[in-house]
Amino acid sequence: MSSRLNFIPARLLQAIPVVFGVTLLVFFMAHLLPGDPAIAMLGDKATEERIAALRTQLGLDQPIWVQYGIFLAHLGQANLGDSLTYGRPVTELVLRAVPVTLSLVLFALVLSMVIGIPLAGLAATRPNGVNDLAVRTYTLVGQGMPQFWVGIMLILFLSLKLRLFPVGGYGSNITDHVYYLFVPALTLAIALSPTLIRSLRSSTINVLGSEYIATARSKGSGGVALFRQHVLRNAIIPTVSILGVNLGYLMGGSIIIEKVFALPGLGSLMLNAIFSRDFPTIQGVTLFVALFVVLIGILTDVVYTLLDPRVNFGSKERE
């Protein structure tokens, strides 16, 4: 089996140019944004004189290649620089924001599984039946609702009308966090579960039709036990890759949810950084997310390989 894992070093090596490419892309994109941190910081009453003074202070009047060089040099020392707006090290701001977004995303993934697994199973047992059509309609509706809209609707219903949950915010201790994160995580789960359900449903149908299950059935297994022990375990394999990719995707895509629910995660950090042209923070957060996505991608392939003996990423034709 270890020979099937020998794609890892090659992939890690390939990750390097990817990450480097991301730094190039984000640096130049950030610097192409109209306006700059000095203008963003100084407000409507700033005179040209003060803006110029601040630009010099922040090192913004140096040629762009020099600035990029400084950025890379710092990166080599694992230093993401200091936020131009807050004056704090970007690493500190990122490390504070990551747990928020990560908890949100993981919570959302768990909820999507709670919603998705039973629904997928329900749909798969009788394809094209009534249940199946209902579930498939749910998946289409779930994917078709704008996230912020779902968020607003859930807040109105769960937080205001039923008073079951707070309106946004993050809370101050672990129990609080779980409580405050429920509605946003549910909003995300509604958008996520469709992809999960589709994949799980289709692989469950495949597994159900396989000889392996026919054999088990002939031996007398049936019902929920059969589903849990045999079907699910095999059907979940391709779904693992979905979960993995979603994890990476969501870390970079939580901007809207975090805005609506006032969550101090990576999305909010990033959105504010873009508006205030806080280059180091924009670069730092993007880099972090990119690294995360790449590593999760490799990890997903590892898990996938370990779970499914038929898969071989080490072969010549890579994904």
Binding site: P146, W149, I152, L156, R198, G248, G253, I256, T286
Partner: protein
Amino acid sequence: MTTPTAVLAGYQAKRRAVRPRSRKPWYKNGSLVAGMTIVGLLVLMAVLAPVIAPYDPIQQDLTATLQSPSAAHWLGTDKFGRDVLSRLIWGARVNLRIGFLAVLIPFVFGSVLGGIAGYFGGWIDAIIMRIVDVFFAFPFYVMVIALVFILGAGEASIYLAIAAVSWVSYAKIVRGEVLVAKKQDYVVGARLGGMSHTRVLVRHIGPNVLSQAIIYGMSDIVMDIMAVVTLGYLGLGIAPPTAEWGSMILDGQEFITTLWQQATIPGLIVVVTSLGVSWLGDGLSDLLSPDRRK
């Protein structure tokens, strides 16, 4: 937009073999029919907007603002006294147009690159795929928002911003399909027979692999509509006063407790549109490759 769906499609491409298609008449294809009906009706609504909308969508009446639904205004009026129903109908033009058009550039660009990468392999493949990875790892909303800022406001920037983010999925899908296809007998045979690369790509591989891209494109339309609506909600979309469903939700949100229709109904129509397009996509999927599991 780049999503896990594209990645999954890549995985699945590897494990499938091409099988002959079954023939089921299109009108018996439930999803296809439902999808075509809904999308057809919406397109009709958009095209006939000048005829069927009761009022001019940007006509203000500051004496009659924020009215509840009534016989004169079926969905009430917004804070400038504009008829919400008319804005909803005219909004279809903007959202549908952008949703459908926004897939074209990434579709073409991504498929071409993906096809080249898959077909030629080697270092061309390696370079293109690394570029794909860079874009894939990049947080997509960051890129969309940043590009909209950089390119300035307006419809063109939205197309470009979405294109910059979504081409990746098409590249991955088409590359995956091409990798499988180029090993097929008919391709090997054509090359042995002396056919040029271009001809092989265009006449033989192309039509077969594009079907997957087209199917993905349908779900991409849904995602693009969502993206435009979200940009509208963030205040980064089409400039006012043009009616657009996302900014209607943003405007309506202020009055959610009193005039809930103004934020809810545009949201619902977005859902219906997505449903229609998705069914259309499912139906197409059945038509073009019924052996593929959804």
